[in-house]
Symmetry: C2
Amino acid sequence: TIDGPRLNEDIAFTSRFGATPRGGIRRLALSAEDRLVRDWLAAQGAALGCSLTVDTMGNQFLRLEGSDPTLPPLMMGSHLDTQPTGGRYDGIYGVLGGLAVLRALRAAGYVPRHSIELANWTNEEGARFAPAMTASGVFSGVFTLEKAYGLADRDGVRLGDALLAIGYKGDEPCGAHPLAAYFELHIEQGPVLENEGKTIGVVTGVQGMRWFDVTLIGQEAHAGTTPMELRRDALLAAARLMVMAAEVAAAHGPDAKTTIGIIDASPGSRNVVPGEVRMTLDLRHPDDAVIDAMESDFRAQAAAIAGKAAIELSIEESWGSPSVPFDPACVSMVRDAARKAGLSHRDIISGAGHDAAYMARICPTAMIFIPCRDGLSHNEAEYAAPDDIVAGANVLMRAIMAADEH
Amino acid sequence: TIDGPRLNEDIAFTSRFGATPRGGIRRLALSAEDRLVRDWLAAQGAALGCSLTVDTMGNQFLRLEGSDPTLPPLMMGSHLDTQPTGGRYDGIYGVLGGLAVLRALRAAGYVPRHSIELANWTNEEGARFAPAMTASGVFSGVFTLEKAYGLADRDGVRLGDALLAIGYKGDEPCGAHPLAAYFELHIEQGPVLENEGKTIGVVTGVQGMRWFDVTLIGQEAHAGTTPMELRRDALLAAARLMVMAAEVAAAHGPDAKTTIGIIDASPGSRNVVPGEVRMTLDLRHPDDAVIDAMESDFRAQAAAIAGKAAIELSIEESWGSPSVPFDPACVSMVRDAARKAGLSHRDIISGAGHDAAYMARICPTAMIFIPCRDGLSHNEAEYAAPDDIVAGANVLMRAIMAADEH
Ligand SMILES: NC(=O)NCCC(=O)O
Ligand SMILES: NC(=O)NCCC(=O)O
């Protein structure tokens, strides 16, 4: 079984790499802090006698060798990068939980048939480089390596250069890697399990999500002299779009979500009517057809608002991930593992994107959720209970062992 | 009379200091570009045989000596700093127009009774350091020197250090300077003169203005997992405030103006519901009682919006300038000067703040406006016609000569 205290210590220890004053983590992908935690993970793998490879996207793979070299490996994984003001669990739990599984198997002298790999995926959050899940996207063939290398952060630094800068541009081609199955362990990041008092979420799939870059161009003007009715205020129009986006979500039921997370207004002076606004838009729903409807509602109403305000509008889709059903056999292995461990559980759809959503395109995949306090994530106050943490890792181990026997 | 071609050449020449690709100027107060244009102005004054003093706020004063040393000087002035994407005329015209007057008087061999000074005021725009009209504010006793030195720009650089950095922290105490009168020449920055085909605006006063810092605190949350009704989205609440601010302006008639020029949402990630927003608010009206009413309407509605969205709200007044009536005698001198020059003119209230608004507290003051194309200012496309530029400078010269004879 899992060494629970050690797993919880690892979570506390790694939270030092990028610790924030409010108890969270700021460890943007490929930052200096990210390098430190990667080096730490590599050292843990070496201590366990695992081999380590780093691929051209900077993904790290720790490998416990199986007895049958003709079988493709089983993989566990998640990510160690965080949001700018992220928590200690999002992604991190999946990697450290996987490490705890490797340790438990080693400690028990268990030699699996399949080799078992643990992946730490680069830039899952999409916070430094958009889109999210970039490196599992390259691994699974959704993005080309060239596209990923060319992504720029807000300072114009390219992902390819950032990989080099921290010494994590590896030699192993990204993706040349047939797999028997992929399992990812994660906090739910939402309120469902906590509200229902369940310990394990048996994740049956991931909802659809679509990202847009919205640009509004009006006219810079003097705040003191320009009559309201002569203004072409890009920020006022953006405000109307934001309010309207919330109404679009409300119109499509309780599962619909719309979010504006980034806004920049220029020139950014108190006494200048803003002439240009750039903002993001994130649309989500479990049903892709509803996302289509949300998108067309937003576009139609945005065009009407912009037209009335004499604002030039552009709405560019920058990324999308359709809703993903996981592999029924893998999902069953997770459900059986929870039941056999005597843990309360329920099926659940993930509201967040995960590397598993891309891995599902190339191999049988499933995920395991545990509750997090107040459903809070992408927040420094993110918290999961130590017992749930151990419970989830035990379910991951049982699911992996079930898949190995398969 | 004014050397019109030279004045227009000066405007074109000085636009090189901080020229932007779109034909405007970025010359933030106390930047390297500001230093260059200050050095140029000092050299022009020296060539004319004017003395130059620089005070502890970095204000430059060129002085043409009068025949009667017992009389306090007359002053002309404006500013050479610009908005981040400013035009070639705002402020600049008043300084270079004053320089043209000094040149014309010199060329004609005219020796005034009063000494005549030309001021270049530091940080009028309020774009780099808020509030606006900082240095004329210190000069006129509205702000202390300590307060002004302590103002920080968005990078945390303090005004006092920025003065030192460009070598413009002078020795002359700021404000120890009795004056007979102050005249400021400026583009209108609004549409009135152009619409009515008038060449000269006889400015009778400046409307009231009030600046606020608005902070909204909600809760950072995951964009994919947090149901809309559980969110405390600081940016969505800010959007509702922005729309409401425009409604407040509409409710107080055509002279009321509300502007949000700066907005910052954190943490600034596409898939994070913003937990904190900071934005500015600029309220204006010619009648201070109406500004009071606008402020209380905004506060009441903002509190209601924030309360409903479980957002912590703070609205801090950071600066205000009550409406200012100019000196009737000085205003008459401007009106007479326009009439004698045979120029079409009308009385007008300034929608923009000007150093003259603070100077009016310590000496008889008036202003002269000329039209600008499409009423556009605080915009790189700002434009005034060469003939109007010369006409305005001639009115300034006649007004100064009238005051000198007074
Ligand atoms: N798990 C997680 O927070 N992923 C980030 C991608 C997203 O869902 O926005
Ligand atoms: N003239 C001018 O644009 N001054 C800036 C101060 C203001 O009116 O906002």
